[in-house]
Symmetry: C2
Amino acid sequence: MSRDPAPGELTLHGYWRSSAAYRVRIALNLKGLAYQQAPVHLVKDGGQQHAAAYQALNPQGLVPLLVDGDVAIPQSLAILEYLEETRPQPALLPADPVARAQVRALALHVACDIHPLNNLRVLKYLADPLGVDEAARNAWYRHWVETGLASVEQGLAAFDGHFSLGDRPGYLEACLIPQLYNARRFDCSLDGCPRLLDLASRCEALEAFAQAAPEVQPDAQ
Amino acid sequence: MSRDPAPGELTLHGYWRSSAAYRVRIALNLKGLAYQQAPVHLVKDGGQQHAAAYQALNPQGLVPLLVDGDVAIPQSLAILEYLEETRPQPALLPADPVARAQVRALALHVACDIHPLNNLRVLKYLADPLGVDEAARNAWYRHWVETGLASVEQGLAAFDGHFSLGDRPGYLEACLIPQLYNARRFDCSLDGCPRLLDLASRCEALEAFAQAAPEVQPDAQ
């Protein structure tokens, strides 16, 4: 988990089912960047993200973390921006500032308003100490996903029939597809999301997405 | 709330106590940009963010929203990036990609891992339907703030005695100060955060922060 990578070599510390790590895997694949994986099991050993060796690398105690030579960068969206600035081609974001803002606003809606509420650590806190039972936890999960994806769906009208970069996916799809994966895993209703489902089916046909899928990661169980 | 601004004129749709709107007010002030305010009361009228006129501008149904001429941008961090790209001077982010990533990672830790859990809509859901009582809701609030700020504090070691841009604050401080405001409002323990408190005291002495404070906004009650 804490081996030192050679300078300039990319190592992704993540967990197969972490949707934030999944975003970064897609982004690395879209940019055609080779990377090693250093799995951090979020449940085993009381959560390996709390281990001293990992905390020394990432005091935030969360995944993902990208190590680039001697630089360690936490937070999936900070990693996407860093990759875009240090390995600009192929771009993940459109060139126009307004189009970039539209993409970031939709990605941040997923990253700030949907995903954090359904993180493993949050679901655990709902169970204990709050004593919320499994049915109510699942309803909580679906509530935030369904509310959030309904407005994502409206935002996707700008991209009807296309990807966020016209003929290819990027930053936006790297955030949307992992959230859709979670939505399906928890049986959220996607009836109101035909644009999202159409975009997803086109993404999922691409190698960059297929190879980033949770089930094909080395630490998948 | 929905008046049309003149082209190129900036209008911030926000709420005095929204810490995401507070981030944008600080950023606008740091860049010396004039802007109008269009208050969206998050409680009155069942939440004015749900009104049809506001939803037409922002289908995400959240504040803040920045309107720049005929462009509407939701999500505070998308707004900060947009301002940085369209009005680059004075910069909110450092120039070096690694330093930019460090700043964004700390800001995103606040924006993704602390703030969303303590949003008004989340606290309301905890109360109803989950039936979590006020004491347990306050403990929830403090848990996420204290856990998150403890790791932010470690990340601030890189800036000891300085601002994130050396001699002046920027993107990082625009995200930290509103979170600290919330922490104080909910009596969170800040004993482990001397760096944050030192940085905050230097920010709060500056006009850009003083004029962005919730209590001096036109809609403050």
